[in-house]
Amino acid sequence: MNLTILHFYPDLMNLYGSYANVTVLSGLLQRLGHAVEIRNVVPGDGVRFADADFVYMGAGTERRQKFALSDFRRHADEIKAAASDGLTMLFAGTAMELLGESVTDADGNTIPGIALAPFQTAQHAKRVVGDVYAHTELFPEAVVGFMNKCGIVSGADSPLLSALDMGFGNEAEHGAEGWHKHNVYASELTGPLLVKNPKLLEHVAAALLSRKGLTPPDAYPVDAWARRGYDVTARELAARTGGKA
């Protein structure tokens, strides 16, 4: 099967190895025998969402996030329609903030987001940095990653990560993180997220395949390095949660 990935603003929203989320997803789909086409979207491009099987945008600086939003807003209606229609999407890092109702920068200027999600982001001069060890309701394995942001997200009604044993979530230490509805996944965790979490990678791939009318495999081809990397990280972080994990 031919699968199409739309990668929004790969040279603008490119912090923290963001592109690698697309790399490993594409790699997994190829190992499952599919042909994957990655279409890069730059500001000003026309976009055909009807062709897409996966939409992705990664992390950018707060200035670049605004540049991205000024273009991304053009696609707001189509993104919302596609989200309701079950199109699989991942918004990583500051890209997540664009989905909300508004982003207020550290100087107090508020700009509207695309309002797919009901949250607001307030950015501050002080950044939140640190490891995260969390749980999701999607699967039993813990989710690992690193938080590096300056935005406090409030009103995210359906978080992706429901409980954090370690680290800062949307708006609080140990508070829920990210956002998830239909097949839209959003998280400010870096790592990158799908690189560090093979289970989440499989989950996202399954969502994508199901919508395409394909049956996800019972067992995914194992990337032994990713699996071992995850095991080491999860073990090390769990040991630092003070027995909470």
């Binding site: 690698a20 790699g27 200035r63 940095v129 790592g191």
Partner: protein, 442 residues
């Protein structure tokens, strides 16, 4: 009285610290506690030079000191690792009389880019050199633009800036000022048409977000840039490398001064230019500056040679969490053309903890090791699985790289066979874990 007490305490602390081999920031810390505005109360030399930026600070400071000393000036400066306010205070106060007069012609300081605003609250440099600003230790620094925002308040309008014209981000410090001296590298045999590397931080203008275009690039997004939207472009340089032949190791500055390079790296060229530019601004002649730079061997030990079994090897110190430092060393290995084995070691990213943050591995252009002269790559250290996952998606064939988790095991394996040159790429933090198992060369 408090001033004198603070200076005395600092001198005493420094003396004791030296005896017991402790670091050089503690005495300054003590002095700042006794007299918080001590740095505003001392009489500084007429020339005060600060050097900051993501990469190249230490090397640049070392060369500036050598040039100024060759010019007959007395220079004091802080050594690597003490580049926050406490270390700067130690340098200043241990070289001051008890009445607070600093005994030197020039005070030279390496300054941490994120904490410079704190250091320069009580006095301002006459010259501020910024080597560059790019992705470096993002777990601590956030991202390059947040470092830019943190450094900006440290730059007083009266301070003359010495800036890298080829860096689109740090060059923004010069916007709206006329007291800027620009250095840069003109198009040369080393130039490539477009930026290199895994990510392209020069794709969009840091000021307006417009699309940038490059006449040429030298490494990553460092080169001759121009914004197609706002028209901002690489500033005209006062001090430029007008020709460069890295094969022969010859650098020409301003079409006039020829310098033989001891270390043939593009990086080194920018550090030399920064040092040359600020020294010329401080009245040093071109001949004196060139005389020092010619064949200057840096003492900071970023390159260390060793022997291991039948191999000769060189350890190239990169910085973990700094993709451009890695890229530069990868390019060095690729360009040297020598048949070699490359060892990449990522064992401790932080001294304090294990981190899930390995995204910087994806920012490194490991495809450069997919080069005919690189015979084999060994990945080692606690983060070897993350490295291996990264290498799975590199252009290197799977049979060219292997994982040996334990560093001693990797050393034994190398020792047991072959005589190819070895290049080791790793960070200060992991360097000795490998080097102590080899025969070091002087």
């Amino acid at each position: 009285m408090r001033k004198m007490l603070a200076i005395l305490a600092c001198k005493l602390g420094y003396f004791v610290g030296k005896l017991v081999g402790k670091g050089s920031s503690l005495p300054g810390k003590l002095a700042l506690k006794l007299c918080p505005d001590i740095l505003g109360q001392v009489k500084l030399p007429s020339t005060v030079i600060a050097v900051s930026g993501s990469n190249g600070k230490t090397s640049t400071v070392e060369m500036i000191a050598a040039i100024l000393r060759a010019d007959g000036q007395t220079v004091i400066y802080n050594k690597e690792g003490s580049n926050q306010i406490e270390g700067v205070a130690t340098t200043i106060l241990t070289n001051a009389t008890l009445s607070g007069k600093v005994r030197a012609d020039v005070l030279l300081m390496e300054s941490d880019e994120r904490y410079a605003a704190r250091t320069f609250r009580f006095f301002r440099p006459t010259h501020f050199v910024i080597t560059n600003l790019y992705r470096d230790q993002l777990t601590r620094n956030g991202h390059p633009e947040s470092v830019y925002d943190a450094l900006r308040p440290a730059l007083s309008p009266e301070t003359e800036l010495v800036l890298n014209a080829d860096d689109p981000l740090s060059s923004c410090f010069g916007i709206g000022r006329d007291n800027v001296t620009w250095f840069g590298l003109d198009r040369c045999s080393y130039s490539v048409p477009t930026p290199t590397g895994v990510y392209h931080d020069g794709a969009y203008c840091p000021v307006c977000g417009g699309v940038m275009e490059y006449a040429h690039a030298h490494y990553n997004h460092i080169g001759a840039w121009r914004c197609t939207a706002c028209g901002r472009e690489r500033p005209h340089t006062q001090y430029a490398a007008t020709a460069l032949d890295l094969q022969k190791g010859v650098l020409t500055i301003d079409n006039a001064v020829t310098v033989q390079l001891a270390f043939r790296s593009i990086y080194n060229v920018y550090n030399i230019l920064a040092a040359y530019a600020v020294c010329r601004r401080c009245g040093v002649s071109a001949d004196t500056a060139a005389g020092v730079i010619g064949n200057y061997v840096l003492k900071n030990g970023r390159m260390q040679t060793f022997r291991l079994g039948g191999h000769h090897g060189t350890l190239l110190t990169s910085k973990h969490e700094n993709s451009i430092a890695y890229d530069t060393n990868l390019r060095y290995v690729q360009d040297c053309g020598t048949a070699c084995v490359v060892v990449v070691i990522v064992d401790a990213v932080s001294r304090k903890y294990f981190t899930s943050e390995t995204s910087w591995l994806w920012d490194i252009d490991f495809d450069r090791l997919d080069s005919p002269n690189v015979k084999r790559v060994i990945l080692s250290g606690r983060y070897c699985n993350d490295l291996a996952e990264r290498f799975t998606y590199s252009s290197l064939p799977a049979d060219k790289w292997e994982v040996v988790e334990e560093i001693p095991a990797a050393v034994e394996e190398l020792k047991a066979s072959g005589d190819d040159e070895i290049y080791v790429l790793t960070c200060f933090s992991d360097r000795d874990k490998f080097l102590t198992l080899t025969e070091r060369e002087a």
